[in-house]
């Protein structure tokens, strides 16, 4: 087989990664292959919070405004019971260099690459993170290579990712646009091997530590501007980094609001399908990424993922594509903020959840992102129609990913749908149980799995019993 054959390259992944990360993950592993020292991993970067803030301030990141959305809050109150309808706030992360919160992650990853004297950085990402890495690399004179999944096999490009190609090139990066498939990771490995560049993965401890300032800022700004701590934080949830870093930052600041993850419901569409690829109107923050990442966080481009959603999620909800488009339109027309899709996913859920909460409660939508050609609802709806997807106004419950997008006709139709976190925990545990039939958990493994799924040791024991008793083939369902 040639050195570039798929299996050959994948067999070299451990060695390639170690060279490209400058971090030996083996030191954090514990006996048995299940547990690892999570706090040791996330605490491994040699930066305290002040140092992170200094780096970010020096590279045009952080201290973004926290705005109140009074007209949207008032609209929600019109459909709420008396005394209900929380104040909705939004953290305008579009103000970061490169236009999204991803600059927080990239700032530390690229700083670390510069400290270790790498000549350049590589990131395999179709999202804002690529722009953030390219922008942070540009500020330090490092070279950047960004790999993006852009096209189906007919070379039809996802509009949002075409825009990401443009913006990464605007920051001076070399951009590879590839067709649909998990082999993006294969090409990532080859690129790292060829260049010897740093792997600016989203999932390293640097990628998480950089977001902790976002959580800290929210706590500080709520206290300074509104005289109280936030009650609920809505986080668009995909790979888990946004939830993990934001929650850790809030906890660092001594604030413990409910952490609510939100994903766009793309049930039924296969993320690796050439046919389905362009039939989704969202490229991230959706269930197609969030479910697999949540139940198997280590399915990433580093040996252990520092982003672990289940550790921090108090509640997890989904919202439909049509509802997010509706929220995007209202943010522009009622609040005068035209922003990109990612933060509007959690905004759409906020418009539903705020209805349940008291009037004086603070609900924080913790990000916005820049918008532009391709990243706009009109671009996505145009593409959807071209592919035969029906677009209409009505009850968003009638939507079906890949077939029909239904835009609500009124704010009271918005409904965040709860996703059973215990179901996700069972799937997570089922994968582990499959690998080690009939072997009980050690004390260390029990503690690790309880922490990693966000439950007590007693709750973990109950969940583990349920999973271990199931027939093995079904435990993964």
């Amino acid at each position: 087989m040639s050195a570039r054959a798929y299996a050959e390259v994948m067999a070299r992944r451990g060695a390639i990664m170690q060279h490209a990360l400058g971090l030996d993950y083996a030191q954090f592993e514990r006996d048995g292959g299940v547990a690892f020292d999570y706090e040791g991993l996330v605490g491994s970067p040699g930066y305290d919070l002040d140092a992170v803030r200094r780096v970010q301030a020096a590279f045009k990141v952080g201290n973004t405004p926290l705005w109140e959305l009074p007209r949207l809050s008032r609209l929600v109150r019109q459909t709420a019971k008396p005394g209900r309808g929380a104040r909705i706030l939004i953290k305008d992360e579009a103000a970061n260099a490169a236009g999204s919160f991803k600059a927080r992650r990239a700032s530390l990853a690229v700083e670390h690459a510069a400290d270790l004297h790498y000549e350049g950085v590589v990131a395999a990402t179709s999202g804002n993170y690529g722009a953030a890495v390219a922008s942070q690399a540009a500020m330090r004179g490092l070279r950047a290579i960004i790999l993006q999944e852009v096209f189906d096999s007919k070379w039809r490009g996802q509009p949002e990712i075409l825009e990401k190609t443009r913006v990464c090139e605007a920051y001076g990066a070399e951009v590879w646009q590839v067709t649909v498939g998990p082999e993006l990771f294969y090409w990532h490995l080859i690129t790292l091997e060829q260049t010897g560049f740093f792997n600016a993965s989203l999932y390293t401890p640097y990628g998480i530590l950089g977001i902790e300032t976002l959580g800290v800022e929210i706590a500080e700004q709520c206290r300074a501007q509104f005289g109280r701590d936030p009650d609920a934080i809505l986080v668009t949830h995909s790979g888990g980094g946004n939830v993990t870093g934001t929650a850790r930052g809030l906890h660092r600041a001594g604030s413990h609001p409910e952490i609510i993850g939100v994903s766009v419901d793309l049930t039924g569409l296969h993320m690796a399908s050439d046919h389905d690829f362009n039939r989704k109107s969202f490229t991230t923050g959706h269930t197609g990424f969030a479910y697999p990442f949540t139940v198997n966080p280590d399915r990433v481009d580093v040996p252990r993922n520092a982003a672990r959603g289940l550790r921090y999620l108090d509640r997890y909800v989904s919202i439909t594509q049509g509802e997010v488009f509706f929220a995007t339109q209202l943010l522009a027309e009622l609040e005068g903020l035209e922003r990109g899709p990612a933060g509007n996913t959690s905004l759409a859920a906020a418009l539903s959840i705020a209805r349940e909460l008291p009037e004086d409660a603070l609900v924080v939508v913790q990000e916005t992102e820049y918008t532009g050609a391709g990243k706009h609802p009109t671009a996505q709806l145009t593409m959807a129609r071209e592919l035969g997807i029906e677009v209409r106004i009505g009850d968003p419950r009638d939507g079906k990913p890949g077939k029909r997008i239904v835009i609500p006709d009124d704010i009271d139709q918005l409904r965040a749908v709860d996703i059973d976190l215990n179901g996700l925990r069972r799937s997570y545990l089922g994968r582990i149980a499959d690998r080690r039939p009939d072997r009980p958990l050690s004390d260390e493994e029990t503690t690790f799995l309880a922490d990693d799924t966000g439950v007590s040791r007693d709750q973990l024991a109950t969940l583990w019993d349920e999973v271990a008793r199931r027939p093995r083939a079904r435990a993964r369902a």
């Binding site: 075409l162 649909v180 399908s273 009622l334 391709g374 129609r385 106004i393």
Partner: protein
């Protein structure tokens, strides 16, 4: 892009161009991927400055923005990024108007 590269004029060295290349043929792809994806190549496009004069459709090399030399088939000269804002959405225009009206005049 049509074939028949012989009649096409030479693109000068240093021109900003786009290359296309197949990274894995259908039989070489990752195991376990959906059949529709497995049946087509894993391919890529990348842009850079042309290293030596070449014709559209023929093999060429570019120097990328990361100062690397990459080889592939010359696909386009000064490639346009096709992302745009699409057509206006009558649905979104309508709901925006409705919600503004509702805010001013609660039911």
């Amino acid at each position: 892009m049509s074939t028949g590269s012989r009649e096409r004029p030479l693109v000068p060295e240093g021109t900003w161009v786009e290359l296309e290349l197949v990274l894995l043929k259908p039989g070489e792809r990752a195991p376990g991927i959906p059949a529709d994806t497995a049946s087509v190549p894993f391919a890529a496009r990348v842009r850079g400055f042309l290293v030596a004069p070449a014709r559209l459709g023929s093999s060429a090399q570019v120097r990328t923005q990361a100062e690397r030399v990459v080889a592939g088939r010359l696909r386009a000269v000064l490639p346009r990024n096709p992302a745009d804002f699409g057509d206006p959405s009558p649905e979104l225009l309508q709901v925006g108007k409705e919600m503004k009206r509702r805010l001013q005049d609660p039911r």
